[in-house]
Amino acid sequence: MTLASKFKDICLSLGKNNNPAYAVMAIATVKGICRPTFTMMDKTEDPETKKYTALREGLTEAIAIPAYWTTATLAGKMSKLFKDKKQSTLAQKNLLFIGVCTAALLVIPAACSVAIKPFMKFIQKDKKDVKNPVEPQKFDTGAVNNIQVKDDAVKNYTTPLAHDDKRPNLTAFNTLSRVQTSMKVGGV
């Protein structure tokens, strides 16, 4: 089958029964590619806003494509309620169109409201975690000071040596106050 005959078959099929879902799904597919691309190409916008907007636009169209198809198909199946063949054919065409309209008016905006916001929040939360990793816990000095020493002997033993008059006060050992002699490494 050549390309020309294939194209002729497509045209014949569209001429006999033009499902309105085809056009809107084709539009949604190209929009889902082009709109985020145009958004990302905009140099005047803040990069974070651009990423956010592009992702939201892409998601909207990604939701729209199956929503159009599902709603139109489900609506079209209701035509089986008509037993007369002519009426059933007309009803199928009309119900497919009504399905597409319902998707555009109610189903897609509702699905976007429900699905996009949590998804975007989830993505932004992940980004925040990467940018601001969890800070290490600060050393709680208060907790250490509150440790109660039960044994009095240990408490007496740990009395600072600086308060003992019999021992030399090491804080007075100042290296700068001593005369620097010869060229020792380290200067002491």
């Binding site: 569209l14 001429g15 006999k16 082009c34 956010y52 009309n94 169109f97 597409v100 905006p109 976007c112």
Partner: protein, 214 residues
């Protein structure tokens, strides 16, 4: 009530609209212009000022897309693709030889889809006033006298294919560019753009950001 619903569902006029890509896409875009802003407006989690801005912007975007589609895309692609199909793609097909333009085919089809009695009345009326039917060749005039005339699905399909291509190019590529050029000046003129930009700077990034890009 049930009878009224049944009449709508089996309406041949509605079926004609449903089978026409341009009409169905126009109606669908019009519904989008109502539905999307309405859902943004109904969202209780968004700040009222941001909601107003986002809903207005969405409405303007869809409305400008619709106007662009109706003004530029429909006439250009409908006529253009019919000419392309008639003169190049299907130049050897007999179906295309009967019609000079997409408008002529549309008129013929509208007559052919009617019952024979209604069709004759319309034909006489049109003949009397010297309208499009005068341009039909003998084959088409003979067809219109039959109970079930030939509908030339290939011509219809070619027109619809052109309309789908035009809708895709127009609504997914051309109209967003046009609306982007108009939306920001309109919003600035309405005093909504600056206020909101200041607002977004203050808000935390975790909250719902305003879609500044169309």
């Amino acid at each position: 009530m049930i009878g009224a619903v049944k009449n709508i569902l089996t309406s041949s006029n509605l079926a004609n609209i449903a089978q026409n890509t341009n009409a169905s896409v126009t109606i669908e875009t019009g519904l989008k212009a109502i539905g999307r802003p309405a859902f943004i407006w109904a969202d209780k989690d968004i700040d009222p000022q941001t909601k107003k801005y986002a809903a207005t912007k969405e409405f303007l975007y869809q409305a400008i897309c619709l106007l662009t589609y109706m003004a530029l895309v429909i006439p250009v692609f409908k006529k253009g693709f019919f000419s392309l199909a008639k003169n190049h793609i299907f130049k050897n097909e007999d179906a295309f030889k009967h019609f000079k333009s997409a408008k002529e085919y549309k008129h013929y089809r509208s007559l052919a889809e009617k019952s024979l009695n209604n069709r004759n009345l319309t034909s006489q009326k049109d003949l009397g006033s010297g309208k499009v039917i005068d341009m039909y060749d003998d084959t088409l005039k003979a067809e219109l006298k039959k109970e079930k005339p030939e509908l030339f699905p290939l011509v219809k399909g070619a027109i619809e294919f052109g309309s789908i291509v035009g809708s895709v190019v127009g609504l997914a590529i051309l109209a967003p560019q046009v609306s982007h050029a108009f939306i920001h000046p309109i919003l600035k003129f309405a005093g909504m753009e600056n206020d909101n930009k200041n607002k977004t700077e203050k808000t935390d990034t975790n909250t719902e950001k305003v879609d500044v890009k169309a």
